[in-house]
Symmetry: C2
Subunit: 495 residues, 2 copies
């Protein structure tokens, strides 16, 4: 049909009609393989192949000539087949999982529209939509005004926090660089995300100037130690300017005490950033949002809907309380080819200069469409369900022989050891920790090779390798929790 609508002659491989036919056929394969099958509990989570073998199976090499329609469809099929099914009900490996069909529809629409979110001119719908979504998220934080922007991930949102704080304290840094400034110091808990360190080295502040604050037994920042570390930094001649508090730590799911931290920041004149990349979505829950009490006192917040809300990667926001256009002042370069000052519409709608990016993917639509679909209520229900399932899981772990919780979960991260029969009662033997540390990796290898489930493990603060199970997906149930524990036992009981 497209041959008739006035298109010029096509060059090889670029016919609209053929292209559209391919796209429709590919979508069928994608639908079957990555949606129907990958949400089916009877299918594997992953189809493990050794790297060498997988390379052979996939034939990745790029050649001079193109391939046929059928070959390309089988490529789509194979990519799907050998990829990990993060939509699968037994995928608990990361801080994202599950499928939200409305968000996915938003993603498909984003991809076909393929525009860049920098000016009203090329992204009218998304400029307005981003503003509405940011305003709504800010209102949940407790701010009636402020600013913000979608970023390609929470790490970059966290880097923005540190950069905006630095500019706020020392605006001359933008032009003169750090040489014009005293040595700076930033503070974050030892359990905080590694992006805080990455931010410090990237921004030229250096990881030596990141002071790690102690955490208590559950993984929350110790405010007394924060005060101590601020004094320590000052005694070393550094100038404290930034505290990163975490709402929902990556491994233990702990929440830093925001009110106490805010008191300390106010007293010391420090910028308070809350990394709520993981825990921000708890704000949807009336029952649990007390965990973030005090977040409204922060100066800036990172929040990743692509984690707990399953919008799909990438969906992360950086929010600031400031109302003086700090974000723009800090990041702008005022390129005249993009942000012309003689446009015929309100040029404050060209928000692209608030970021360090130029082209910027549209990340708001998936969240917006999902929200329209289920409403705030639906998202609240989802968050509450994840907490409830986690409680169930923790209780089951406490009941079962051979399973040991590290501590009662505050959030939806459940950290536990599986102790195989051969190690039970041997807690006091010299090699216990050493042997226990080998259990989780061994079970993990087996589960991946069999493809029955995926769950992460890691050591932390002297605790040897333990499982970290993450419960997010609205599509999972107690049965899936039971399965996981049974499966870990099945895979590890001979170790």
């Amino acid at each position: 049909m497209n041959g008739m609508n006035g298109h010029g002659p096509d060059i090889s491989g670029f016919s609209h009609a053929k292209g559209q036919y391919f796209l429709r056929e590919a979508f069928k394969v994608i639908f079957e393989e990555t949606i129907c099958k990958s949400t089916d509990v009877n299918e594997k989570v992953c189809d493990w192949q050794d790297p060498e073998q997988l390379e052979q199976l996939l034939d990745l090499e790029l050649r001079d000539s193109g391939e046929s329609h059928d070959q390309l469809l089988s490529r789509v099929h194979d990519v799907a087949k050998y990829s990990v099914k993060t939509n699968h009900p037994r995928f608990f490996n990361q801080l994202f999982s599950g499928i939200d069909y409305h968000a996915l529809a938003g993603r498909l629409l984003t991809e076909t529209l393929n525009t860049s979110q920098y000016t009203y001119e090329v992204a009218p719908v998304f400029v307005l939509m981003e503003d509405v979504v940011l305003t709504k998220l800010r209102s949940m934080v407790g701010w009636l005004s402020g600013d913000g922007i979608f970023c390609p991930g929470g790490s970059i949102s966290n880097i923005f926090g540190m950069n905006v704080a630095r500019y706020h304290a020392f605006p001359e840094v933008k032009r003169q660089g750090l040489w014009a400034l005293p040595r700076l110091a930033v503070f974050t808990s030892q359990d905080s995300h590694y992006s805080v360190k990455k931010a410090a080295s990237f921004l030229g502040i250096g990881t030596d100037n990141v002071f790690l604050v102690k955490t208590d037994q559950s993984g929350s920042m110790d405010p007394e130690d924060l005060e101590g570390k601020i004094k320590l930094a000052r005694s070393q001649g550094a100038v404290p300017f930034y505290v990163n508090a975490t709402s929902g730590t990556t491994v233990r799911g702990a929440f830093d005490p925001l009110d106490s931290i805010a008191d300390i920041c106010e007293k010391n004149g420090l910028w308070m950033h809350v990394d709520a990349a993981w825990g921000g979505s708890v704000l949807f829950s009336k029952k649990h949002r007390h965990l973030l009490k005090g977040i409204e006192r922060a100066n800036s917040v990172t929040w990743n809907p692509h984690k707990m809300l399953s919008t799909g990667l990438q969906c992360s926001v950086f929010l600031v309380r400031d109302t003086t256009n700090l974000l723009q002042k800090c990041h702008s370069a005022s390129a005249t080819y993009l942000f012309q000052q003689d446009k015929f519409y309100d040029m404050s709608l060209d928000t692209g200069d608030k970021t360090i990016q130029c082209g910027r993917k549209v990340d708001c639509l998936k969240l917006w469409l999902m929200w329209k679909a289920v409403g705030t209520k639906g998202l609240t229900e989802r968050v509450d369900k994840a907490f409830a399932l986690t409680r169930y899981l923790a209780e089951e772990i406490e009941k079962r022989e051979g399973f040991q919780l590290l501590y009662k979960p505050q959030f939806v991260n459940t950290c536990f050891w599986y102790i195989p029969p051969s190690l039970r009662g041997k807690e006091n033997s010299a090699d216990y920790k050493d042997r226990l540390s080998q259990v989780a990796p061994a079970i993990k290898e087996r589960m991946i090779k069999q493809g029955t489930m995926m769950v992460g493990y890691q050591p932390l603060n002297g605790q040897v390798n333990f499982f970290r199970m993450i419960v997010i997906s609205p599509h999972i149930s107690q049965r899936d929790m039971d399965f996981c524990l049974d499966e870990i036992e099945r895979l590890g009981k001979d170790l």
Copy 2:
């Protein structure tokens, strides 16, 4: 069908069956609106609405309750309707445009698989695929070894260039920050992309330490002035370490003389980065790749396939020639929860610590699938066709009364003025420039409001507002070029 495959009970709004039904229906709307219609030359490129009006039309507000299936489908429809059609044959406004169906299929597959590109464990296919694609792109640059990573956009790739160069020269910066270093200086041409300045302020180097090198008449860096600026920086006590050369400048499409710049970098011991975000794809063309002669002597390169190759946003690579794992050393934080060192497979496959991101979108698949589909040959043909069409356009401009080229295009950017009859022959009157500067914005307003085409304009280096027409899409023809000139004339002849 999904009710039977063992899923647990659904909570409201999260049924697989309903969700899949919605997704299928949404895809039909998306296909019709953003693919069929938006590639049809008889449809509008954009359906302009004032912001206030658009806000009302879209009803963006997020509410407590969700909406019905039909309401949501009409939301999908409306978002598509009021968005700019970057796939449209008359969209020449940005450095991206057009549609590649295979790349789009890759994007849809990426979205449904929804994984993060940091470990082999969760992205086995994409870890291997990214490596193959990067290796291939490096080989086109002229490197048989090296390293690289996909980044969320060329600006971030450019920031990586500056950061890796700084780490290479002063590895202590990662821990100690810039205070341990002398004042640094970077060099880039006055026509280079604004991300170089953004990089300098973000990394704490400061825009005052960015020395702008003069360009010649066509917009290429003047190597003599580069040498002069290096001396100037030294005389001011700053330490030069980084030169950003541009292959394909944003506005004029100029190519800096890479061999001369490489000579100067070698002589002075400076890191040479080539920002080929825009022009990198010229390497596909045997006929035109001489424009990038010397690129193999660079230390690092930015290249955005999402621009000239129409892979869709975002698709940008950062390539380094280094073989000592510099990228990893510079950016790593070695998080033990993600990059466990006791995994059962080759852990060098966990490439996620080479970047400052944590979660990272899969950006290689769209490029890979497109390449598989049309082969290197098809991409070569596409690049050559864009050059040929640009030459045609420039010739037409030279022939037409009232049109004036700023200079002969080197690349696929054509910069020209339209001079309405009222201004012809008035070149010497005092207000000529002032009046000419108002022509492009006025025409732009009309074309957007009528929705017939989109093309950008800007002032540069004392030249008042001129049009910058960008020819990329494999689906356009001479007829589209003719149309654009006719249309500009039609819209502007009474000005």
